[in-house]
């Protein structure tokens, strides 16, 4: 016990001096994460921008309102509205040039006021995630609002529609409508009918999550931090061997386990710190609930220890420091690639994503995604915690075995 904490303290004291390495471990994920975020958000970090195509076959005042709604206010900054024919619209969509296509069928306005079912068609671009989501949300809001407005004020609106709008309506006429609307608002209470109108959203292919795309990069970026830090710290076994301190450890009676556990704790703390900084920045940027921070940090900590112990074991299995570093860096990049650090699983072909989730880092990133995107905290299942803890213990056992079978002796 005495050596366990002494070992942790000694490694923290030593590593603290290597600020360059620590900053590098931190800079890599922040740089790549920042780069991805900027790329994802279009030029200069501005909001995404896309085109919504509208085929207005009805061509009435009301259909014009719906079409116009996409160009209003903040939405207008995100979307350019383009009126097109069905053929042009479809062709544009197939070419992936627009974020969405909304078809307002002929007779929409009449059906609306006659409370007849009517179907709008919305097609979204499967290659994009944010804008199509916004388009379908807006369409639904518009239709909901339209439905309730019609339920409540349909007659009054019809009065306006049928009234003579060429001259100004007289005061009596206006106040009659106002009183009628007032009555209906009071009477309606919690009116909730299923809308007679429907929107037919042509669904994009499955697997397309409903969470912001940039957020899906966060776990991969954090894994980048964990992997680089774990790999970097694991070469400390060579450092200790070359300085003869491992040999000196073998002179002492039976303390290898305490030594290893202490070093793993120190590595776990450093990795958690580095991963934690990345995590907090991600939480701030994406506005993730802080209640998920403790569970996410705990997951990062145990995963960091597991990764460190396996990188350490690999280093110690190698014949010399150079081949140790070669082996781990040859593993590092393919693992990061497959494990979702450069492209999130959602963007990878299914079979690669399935494979990637089985890499150690992919497994950790996948569960971290679960944690930060699910509705509840501590969302990672108990099996996953057990798997990672077991891997940490096995990795350390392998390290202990290597220390005993000669790694410490030369």
């Amino acid at each position: 016990m005495s050596l366990f904490l002494a070992s942790t303290r000694k490694d923290l004291a030593r590593w603290r001096q290597d600020t360059n390495a620590l900053l590098l471990f931190l800079a890599i994920p922040l740089l790549i994460g920042g780069l991805i975020t900027v790329l994802m958000s279009g030029s200069g970090g501005a909001k995404p921008h896309g085109t919504v195509l509208i085929v207005d076959q009805d061509d009435t005042f009301l259909s014009g309102v719906i079409a116009g709604a996409f160009g209003q206010g903040e939405l207008g900054e995100l979307l350019t509205v383009k009126k097109v024919t069905v053929e042009d619209g479809m062709a544009n969509m197939d070419a992936g040039e627009a974020s969405g296509l909304l078809i307002i069928p002929k007779g929409f306005t009449d059906a609306f006021f006659d409370k007849q079912p009517v179907t709008l068609i919305l097609k979204t671009n499967p290659a994009q995630t944010i804008l199509p989501g916004i388009i379908s949300d807006v369409t639904e809001i518009l239709l909901d609002a339209g439905f309730y407005a019609q339920q409540l004020f349909g007659e009054d609106i019809a009065t306006i529609r049928d009234g003579n709008l060429e001259g100004l309506p007289d005061d009596v006429f206006v106040s009659a409508i106002a009183v009628s609307i007032q009555h209906k608002i009071e009477a309606s209470g919690s009116l909730l009918f299923p809308p007679a109108m429907d929107i037919d959203i042509v669904p994009p292919p499955p697997e397309q999550p409903r969470i912001p795309y940039a957020l899906l990069f966060l776990p991969g970026v954090i894994l980048l931090a964990l992997m680089f830090a774990a790999n970097g710290l694991a070469s400390d076994y060579w450092e200790e061997r070359e300085h003869g301190t491992l040999r000196r450890l073998v002179y002492a009676p039976g303390q290898l386990t305490a030594f290893l556990a202490g070093k793993a704790l120190a590595a776990g703390l450093v990795i958690t710190l580095i991963g934690g900084v990345t995590l907090v920045i991600g939480f701030l940027y994406h506005g993730i609930a802080w209640s998920k921070l403790p569970s996410s940090l705990a997951w990062i900590a145990i995963s960091g220890v597991a990764l460190f112990s396996w990188f350490g074991a690999l280093q110690m299995l190698a014949g010399n420091r150079r081949s140790g570093n070669l082996i781990t860096s040859m593993l590092l990049f393919p693992l990061l690639m497959a494990g979702g650090s450069f492209f999130p699983f959602a963007a990878l072909p299914d079979w690669i994503a399935a494979l990637g989730r089985r890499t150690p880092n992919g497994f950790i990133a996948d569960r971290l995604t679960t944690e930060i995107t699910s509705a509840t905290t501590w969302a990672i299942d108990i099996q996953s915690w057990l798997i990672v803890s077991t891997m940490a213990v096995l990795g350390l056992a392998l390290c202990a075995w290597r220390l005993q079978t000669g790694f410490a002796r030369n």
Binding site: S2, A13, R248, A252, P253
Partner: protein, 314 residues
Amino acid sequence: MLVISNLLKQYGDLVAVDDISLRAEKGTVFGLLGPNGAGKSTMINCISGLLRPTSGSVSVGGFDIVDDPTDAKKLLGVVPQELALYEDLSAIDNLRYWGKAYGMRGEDLASRAKEVLGNIGLADRSKDLPKTFSGGMKRRLNFACGIMHRPHLILLDEPTAGVDPQSRQRLFDMVEAERRHGACILYTTHYMAEAEQLCDSLAIIDHGKLIAQGTVAELRAKLGARDVLQLSGAFPGDSSQQAIQKLVNNGLSDLELIAQEEQNITMTLSDASQHLPAIFAALAEVGGNVSETSLRRPNLETLFLLLTGKELRE
């Protein structure tokens, strides 16, 4: 304290330690002498448990290092030939860490670390990192790390290599102090003078074999009072040897030829300086040509030469 019985260590075909047996008692310094590659470090590594002997046994304070390593290692302190320090951890933290590795804690650990640091003359550098130290300072700290836990048997593997005279004297003082406290010290070196100054008894090894063993006085007695004469130059093989044999027959009866090569002849005899003209003349007669002469009074350094026909250090 230390009993080595028929120790044999092989690296593949190479026999690094060849069937060596020794004993060293508490309160004494035992010197292990030999040239580079003699097998000194290999022996130390077998005693410390770092290497497993091919055969034979090592017992420390009655505990076998292979069968009962934990008990044996508690009694052992090792100062390895190569530095074994955390260069990026302060001097005092190095000492504390190694103390903890041997189960020390609390007040005992703190006071012992201070004491040892004072003994090695680094009290004012306690918070500094060893990477900022000179070679001699690192050696002293390396020594201190090995004796933090007050071991009963201390293995010192060439502690003075690359150390200035001042640091060397400090190391000797520390070895003396440990001996006074009752420790048994196994001191490895290839400096005979160090061994003569420090050691109560000695073993001389070469090519893994024990070639002489005893107290310093016993080994000196082996030498007798004969000088060692070394001649360099050009000496035709058989005829030089015959010329020297003739000298032996004509009165220089205690002259002994130790080694003879084309360019070197080594011999021992008493009162060598008086016989130099005769020896030069005899060699010149057979076409020999002496370009350099070295005449040495007997000491342990020359003992090694007598035993092996070669210098302890090249």
